[in-house]
Symmetry: C2
Subunit: 500 residues, 2 copies
Amino acid sequence: MVWFRSFIHVSSSIGSSSIKHRYLNKSPPNYFLSISLSQHFSTESTFHKTPSPDDNPYSGLCRATKPSEKPRMVVLGSGWAGCRIMKDIDTTIYDVVCVSPRNHMVFTPLLASTCVGTLEFRSIAEPVASIQPAISREPGSFFLPAHCKVLDTDNHQVHCETVTDDEKTLKPWNFTISYDKLVIAAGAEASTFGIHGVTEHAIFLREVHHAQAIRRKLLLNLMLSDVPGLSEEEKRRLLHCVVVGGGPTGVEFSGELSDFILKDVHLRYAHVKDYIHVTLIEANEILSSFDDRLRHYATKQLTKSGVRLVRGVVKDVQLQKIILNDGTEVPYGLLVWSTGVGPSALTRSLQFPKSPGGRIGVDEWLRIPSVQDVFAIGDCCGFLESTGKPVLPALAQVAERQGKYLGNLLNKIGKGGGGHANRAREMELGPPFVYTHLGSMATVGSFKALVDLRQSKEAKGLSLTGFVSWFIWRSAYLTRPYLKQNLRIVGSFLRMVGMS
Amino acid sequence: MVWFRSFIHVSSSIGSSSIKHRYLNKSPPNYFLSISLSQHFSTESTFHKTPSPDDNPYSGLCRATKPSEKPRMVVLGSGWAGCRIMKDIDTTIYDVVCVSPRNHMVFTPLLASTCVGTLEFRSIAEPVASIQPAISREPGSFFLPAHCKVLDTDNHQVHCETVTDDEKTLKPWNFTISYDKLVIAAGAEASTFGIHGVTEHAIFLREVHHAQAIRRKLLLNLMLSDVPGLSEEEKRRLLHCVVVGGGPTGVEFSGELSDFILKDVHLRYAHVKDYIHVTLIEANEILSSFDDRLRHYATKQLTKSGVRLVRGVVKDVQLQKIILNDGTEVPYGLLVWSTGVGPSALTRSLQFPKSPGGRIGVDEWLRIPSVQDVFAIGDCCGFLESTGKPVLPALAQVAERQGKYLGNLLNKIGKGGGGHANRAREMELGPPFVYTHLGSMATVGSFKALVDLRQSKEAKGLSLTGFVSWFIWRSAYLTRPYLKQNLRIVGSFLRMVGMS
């Protein structure tokens, strides 16, 4: 109770306005900070105590590092690219600050499997702090749950806004970080092609919370379809799962879904097993990046397991139905949207020269040429036309390879004494980033997958189907270096194969 | 594509209005149903097909069972009481229909452990359909995700409204079920004592989604407290976890929380370990139902592990602070409210004679005496004063014992041919329900718990503390008959004891 009395005792000392005043005086001239503070302290901040002399909220991340200190690498994002560079970066050279709305990396290729419970959500998410332990250990390394709002490359600063996790009681709060090296790995966002109603009514499949929403909605619809008084039509609508987009994600999700229906639904929801259907809508060929033979195999397997493949272009998405270009109405109970990705709001807002497709333009060393110490990797970047190189596909494979390359490059720069801001101008960077496509993989349900090992779409090369390729597909992920949850996955894997 | 063309083909046949019309004509005169349908079909229902002759939405659950059919037992709720009776009921005698907003039973005594990741959410939730498999197997047995709104005991019917899982795209929908036997096991709701702001700002600890919200908020606050520019005061506020209510739940949660701080926070959030604190606020003694010695032991253990025990009465709850009766302000980042339970909205709405405390009044056989074929068990019921028996405490132990008793009673009635509505008037029911208190248990952190084996508060009897009692505490749950997830729990258990 001593502690309690003491903090009650001081609760009469200083009012929040005076605190705000004090901090504003101390703060560097920065419109962003003043906004943030006024906004911040306007919420009832009531935990008052006499401020200690060292109580200076603007020490640390907001000011540039001294030559005597470790240079600070700021990473925007925690996807494949961002997590790979954080894993590889030498934390004896750099302090690492990760700014991302998500404190974990999502193991996207396995996301579809979590929607129907084949894998558990925990199994495919890895905390940033365990990918790079320095983040919770080193005094100068942090993870900050925030979005980057404004880049100030002249002053080597990023202005960020905290996430609120949809908490009504929490106001977002802006803050600033100075960087020596900035790595933009903020990814892309699901593209809706400006089709009306997609964001309101469809669920994407890019984050764990998407998979959770899909699972919740699927189960709720299954339960609701038992409710007495429900018409046949309504029952069929509720249990009609529509997937738009025939890329790997859409195909894999359709496969998982039809497996789920054939196994679990027939077992646990016997009442409605004849009402539930899966439809996959694609404007062109499904899996267009794959070899013809594989495409036909996938088509055969999906159709065999009850997935309806529909060639069509979505014109409008409404509350309970999709309208196709030819006017056809497709009623749905669950709508999953996976038609690829496009530039995110941050990418669009940046004033740097862009690559074809509107991504952040980078040179062969993944630098943004027009500014110092800023790099971009993963889905958010693309080679500038001046490099004469094609924009790479938005694949985990590409993102991770870029993260690995840039990690080594920055380690080399750091060792060479170029870690601090503007210290790497004259440095020799060595070989540029070169991407070799190792092939594509996709699963079309348990024990069935496609492995396309051709180096490019035109080139000849090995392509596998069936159990072997499915095994390769799973193995490729079970052997990830930093997927701590492997055991859990192996567990689910064995359960799936019926070995446990 | 054949299927697709066919359902497109018919999509021009019947308009939803005419469907509505058709069904309304078929429906029995019931304001509830008409409301439900108009409400329901007013949403764009577009999956049209020529109705098959047997397409009658009001066959089945809405009409009373024929003497040739199995009698229908409707259970409202899926907690300890409801799940126990569903497990024990003889499904060769009865069809079982469970109406509950929750399709799983929550293993409440272990809920506190899931907030900090000691146990996983899945480990403490068991689907109703696996507790009573007939629900997914038998043609006449169902689980329906809904709330009971109105009881019509004259016609042996319940009027229900479906849950929408907060889906904006889903409108709740009303329907009716006829019952032969009705078991009200709808539980109680967290009591706020009418204190302003509790429901807006505090989190209860009664459902899995509560535990998820607590975990999410705790982690978010931990991450946010690293954000640069945050004042010392604000940091302390964000990381101040306040628990109101010193009953077993409040005490167990405080214990888990302090363990989490001592272990995980010191390891993973080293930056803020000195800022995070737990305060437990209770108006009287903590664990008042326990033996003095146990209470003192709990107090000592909690204080030792850093929990601040505060004697106080909450007057008002605001966005970021609590006001106590004596005017003291307690700022908080996380507020958990566990001050016991009171009658739910449904219980309050029912016009039956109530027991002291406003619960549904039952006789010694757990019947509602004023009506036929309606029973109440668990936290929602209490003995009528006329029985001369005291109202039993709202404990899992009581609820489960009542479920077991009533299960046997209804099986006996069913075997005796009294299963259908109004057929058990003259039957001999045998011995009434008698409750013997087997003792109370609570944990105060890893390896520390209290076991109070006295038969009543006054009586002498065995009382244990420390590891042994903690082991008993865990074992009591690890050996649950129908907790399929035991393996997972044992896993977590072994991890906790450091044996795996």
